[in-house]
């Protein structure tokens, strides 16, 4: 992760986000949603962020967009720190970072027409005169393969895949450089998902977009992301290029995840690590276990795991892992 700074579009350094939820005799209680995360995204890259629900993937997304400021740490976007409240961000910065939400049914206003929905980003972020809006909107719809008559439809009257296409068009409208995709296809069927994903990949090639792609679907991630980071309880436990990631998963949690994925071919079955059987559930982020947060479910647990939280190490070039099992040989050398 120590690459030249100039080719990185987003650099998250030791970001923490705690949510205050109440008080106790010992003091305030926090949900430690994100607990010290480092992420670097290069220009034109797709970074996949994978994790179970409650692991803090969406919190990262929302913090980058500016829905809330981080508790500590830095978010550098194109060399500038953007770890501030959205209300204090400049309009030009907001234009650069756009987001597509999971459920298009609730992220598009059902009482507006698609025309009204798509007009808003133009009104706010561009200086295009109003009479050219229609032309621009038709252009946008063409980009996502919808016909111009969709302008006069409203979200409830169109299908789920089409709704998500409109949401993508809306995110594309201000011509951003980073788009955060928060589980964009998890509400869709596989045949529709294939269409949406292909469109996203095409658009990325066309205008050199950068994606932060959040999902819990590993097999989708394999085909979309250039690099993958796995999150567990607010921390990243493994990050690698997507090919090495599936061929040589290191962290026990990653192995558990990959072995849990249902697959459709023999070839894929051979890729799955056999030994790790998933047990237990993700603990609450209020009471994070001491030491390595995964040790309660880990099949390869050693005594040190319940005491000391492991540090992130670079196991092989570009392959980072945070586990005691891999620290030892490093020290011996």
């Amino acid at each position: 992760m120590k690459q030249a700074i100039n080719n990185e579009i987003l650099k998250i350094k030791k970001m923490k986000k705690y949510f205050h939820i109440g008080k106790d005799k010992k003091g305030p209680i926090y949900v430690r949603a994100v607990d010290g995360v480092d992420i670097n995204i290069k220009y034109g890259e797709t970074l996949g962020l994978v994790g179970e629900s409650g692991s803090g993937k969406s919190t990262i997304a929302y913090t980058v967009v500016g829905m809330y400021p981080p508790t500590s740490g830095q978010i550098m976007f194109k060399g500038k720190n953007i770890g501030i409240k959205a209300s204090r961000r400049s309009l030009s910065l907001k234009k650069e970072i756009q987001i597509v939400f999971q459920d298009p049914g609730s992220s598009l206003n059902p009482r507006q027409t698609i025309e009204q929905i798509l007009a808003l980003p133009f009104r706010i972020h561009t200086t295009i005169p109003r009479r050219q809006f229609r032309e621009k909107m038709v252009e946008l719809l063409e980009k996502v393969e919808l016909s111009p008559d969709y302008l006069y439809k409203s979200p409830p009257s169109i299908g789920g895949g089409e709704k998500q296409m409109v949401a993508i068009a809306r995110a594309m409208a201000p011509n951003p450089s980073l788009i955060i995709l928060d589980e964009p296809t998890s509400a869709l069927d596989v045949s529709v998902q294939a269409k949406v994903i292909n469109k996203l990949i095409d658009l990325q090639k066309e205008i050199n977009l950068t994606y932060l792609f959040i999902t819990h679907d590993l097999s989708l991630m394999r085909n979309v992301a250039d690099r993958i980071a796995i999150m567990y309880l607010g921390k990243i436990c493994e990050a690698a290029e997507s090919v090495t990631f599936f061929e040589k998963p290191l962290h026990p949690y990653t192995q558990m995840l990959i072995s849990s994925v249902p697959v459709i071919t023999k070839e894929e079955e051979n890729l799955k690590p056999k030994k790790v059987i998933s047990t237990g559930e993700i603990p609450s982020p209020v009471n994070i276990p001491p030491g390595c947060s995964f040790h309660l479910r880990c099949p390869y647990k050693i005594p040190i795991c319940s005491k000391i939280d492991p540090k992130m190490i670079e196991f092989s070039p570009g392959h980072f892992v945070r586990c005691h099992l891999f620290i030892k040989p490093e020290n011996k050398k």
Partner: protein, 327 residues
Amino acid sequence: MKTEENILLNIKDLHVWYRVYGGYLKVLNGVHLMVREGERVGLVGEAGCGKTTTMKSILQILPPGDFHIPQGQIFYKGQDVLKMSFKELQRLRSREIAMIFQDPTAALNPVFTIGTQIGDVIKYSSAFEENEHKETIKEQSIKALKEVYLPDPERMLINYPLQLSGGMRQRVCIAIAISSSSNLVIADEPGTSLDVTIQDQIHRLLNELVEKRNTAIILITHSLAVAREMTDRIYVMYAGMIVETATPELLFKNPVHPYTKGLLASVPKISGGGIAKGIPGKLPSYLNPPSGCRFRLRCEQERPICSEKPPQLFEIEKDHLVACYLT
């Protein structure tokens, strides 16, 4: 379809329509489905293809007054469910067929404890004799919760559903389903709302219980991969019709129906290789479905005969039936 002694459930040419303002939604259009005793059957299809309607018509829990069944039969152990009296239906629901729903949060009542909910099921099911005591109900509830590997089952009985996590709630639902010692379990996407690791656990648990009790199971899912790992036979459904049925090995080795092929190609693989284009178009409107084969508008190999009448299931090899004129 073959006639065999041990057929548990046999659905023949089922049509279900829903009454709406503009007429009838012709949702199911001739569904054939058969489950043998102790068999694991998968029903795969996309959202809105009628999977849940099929299952609800087996139990006759369709919205009352809004549906119409113009033709078709559902035989359960040789008895037609559609002609059953209310009492017989109640017996069917309580003692013969159990159901696990997709969303365990919505399936459990938030204002009753787990103990009350599981106790009620045991009380009205075959596992409980009338003259037994409350203590027996408690014992049996604990036994059921132990079987699904819930930690500390005694304490679990006084917990409310919202005190448990999603995976634990689904385990409670499974415990409720198995505690009635039914012969058929209908699992409607039991792992969809859960994380992959938890989903894997739930699926393994279901498999184990089904094998131990020799219960038949119908697993409704939208994921071909899940069906492949969980079932003995897969039915692929599209727009209210069964388009293909085969054992997982045959289906994945040699898919015949264009829809199955498209669906298989759309599934992203962990071995990489990109994602196919998907299937063009979308589900037809049920208000005015296309004549003949309902897939023909999205099919790349449409022929004149396709619009004339719906294709019937046709056996192309042993255990492999396809409803398509191309074969």
